[in-house]
């Protein structure tokens, strides 16, 4: 394994900053979806960057860098999620949803804002694979073909996983499981 710990910007090769800057916004969105708060999203991104700096030679060779970065972010998130007993999205979205609803009452009716809040709670009850897939596919609009690369999983398996995840979301919302838990 080659570890360019102290590599410097050489000649015309892109620097680390030049490589990752164009992808930071999208990575941040994913990190926020995974973690549920701005502070945790920033932590996740920071950890990712620290892990990537020594791999700059590898980054320079990647043809399509964004899927590669998204995959690294997902793996890091899963690794942190498994080590932590804390649910990553617990309650983190509420404040931002309230603010967004207040600023855009035409888009976020009280009913829609309520549904979005309930969905955040329901998402916590999916397994991590289903949740990541719904985050990336249904919330961030990645195609299954793109996700095949990012998640290292065949499209057929992703379709089945998406089907089960959506069905579980509907069931949770329909049964009121989420609302009951929120009331507790």
């Amino acid at each position: 394994m080659k570890i360019g710990i102290f590599s410097r910007h050489r000649g015309t090769e892109p620097s680390f900053e030049e490589l990752v800057t164009p992808h930071m916004e999208r990575l941040y969105r994913l990190a926020y979806r995974y973690s549920g708060s701005q502070a945790d999203a920033e932590d996740l991104i920071q950890d990712l960057l620290i892990k990537l700096v020594p791999r700059i030679d590898e980054l320079r060779k990647v043809d399509q860098l964004y899927p590669w970065l998204a995959k690294a972010l997902y793996r890091l998130h899963v690794d942190r999620f498994r080590k932590s007993s804390r649910n990553p999205v617990e309650g983190g979205h509420d404040e931002h949803i309230e603010r967004a609803a207040g600023e855009n009452p035409d888009v976020f009716s009280p009913a829609r804002a309520g549904l979005i809040r309930d969905l955040q709670s329901a998402l916590q009850q999916l397994n991590e694979e289903q949740r990541a897939l719904i985050v990336m596919h249904d919330m961030e609009s990645y195609t299954l073909v793109e996700l095949e690369k990012i998640l290292d999983t065949p499209v057929g398996t992703l379709k089945s996983r998406l089907h089960r995840g959506r069905a579980k979301l509907r069931k949770l919302l329909k049964e009121g499981t989420v609302s009951m838990q929120r009331a507790c």
Binding site: M1, R10, M24, Q38, I134, K159
Partner: protein, 225 residues
């Protein structure tokens, strides 16, 4: 189309992946079956709510700050990795790689067994000072350390090739390399310096054992390679 078939195709319908006759059949069924119509409506509302779930914008300046912190983190690591030129020399093991004038050979590695092995205690980190003694300043030289399987650098587990670019000053440049034995066996560490396609290496026999490190190993035993 029956209700079960609709359920199987609902995801494709929601994602806009149904076309032509299949979509017409599904929509005809929705017109006829109230249960399925309610299901599809709820599913569409959920999809819309998921898409509309807001994400606060990234904090201005965060991207550049985070990138800077990440690169500085590793610069700091380098400073602690390449120790100062004067500290703890007497107490450390010394292995010297003398580079008088780089020869146009790719590699010159002495055979094994020509030097006594460095004793590294099992699980006890020990600092080995590698001395790069160069006749003239070397800009942008590549240093490579091939670490054998029976030892590791604390903080770099399972990393057996560490390579980076640096500049060397004329005279003795010292790299303090902490090593920890992980498997009781014999092996060799190879330190190399490369500039403009030319390379010099030194092979350092290593023995990982329960023995305490021999204080006599404090003497330089590197060789001109």
């Amino acid at each position: 189309m029956n209700c079960e078939q609709l359920l199987n195709q609902l995801d494709d319908y929601l994602d806009g992946n149904l076309s032509g006759e299949r979509r017409d059949q599904l929509e005809r069924h929705l017109g006829e079956c109230e249960d399925c119509r309610i299901l599809a409506t709820e599913a569409q509302e959920i999809q819309q709510a998921l898409r509309e779930t807001p994400v606060p914008p990234m904090r201005p300046g965060f991207a550049s700050q985070a990138i800077k912190r990440a690169t500085n983190h590793h610069r700091h690591h380098r400073r602690s990795f390449i120790a100062g030129f004067s500290s703890a020399l007497a107490a450390s093991l010394l292995v010297a790689l003398f580079v008088g004038k780089l020869l146009p050979t790719m590699e010159s590695t002495p055979g094994p067994g020509l030097s006594p092995p460095l004793i590294i205690s099992l699980q006890q980190p020990r600092t080995v000072n590698l001395v790069f003694d160069v006749a003239a300043a070397m800009e942008n030289a590549t240093i490579s350390i091939e670490i054998p399987e029976n030892v590791e650098v604390p903080g770099f587990p399972k990393q057996h090739l560490i390579t980076w670019k640096t500049s060397l000053q004329p005279g003795r440049n010292i790299l303090a390399l902490p090593l920890r034995g992980i498997v009781r066996s014999n092996s060799a560490l190879v330190a190399s310096i490369e500039l403009d396609g030319r390379r010099k290496s030194i092979r350092i026999p290593i023995e990982v054992s329960d023995k305490k490190a021999d204080p006599r190993a404090g003497l330089p035993f590197g060789r001109h390679v």
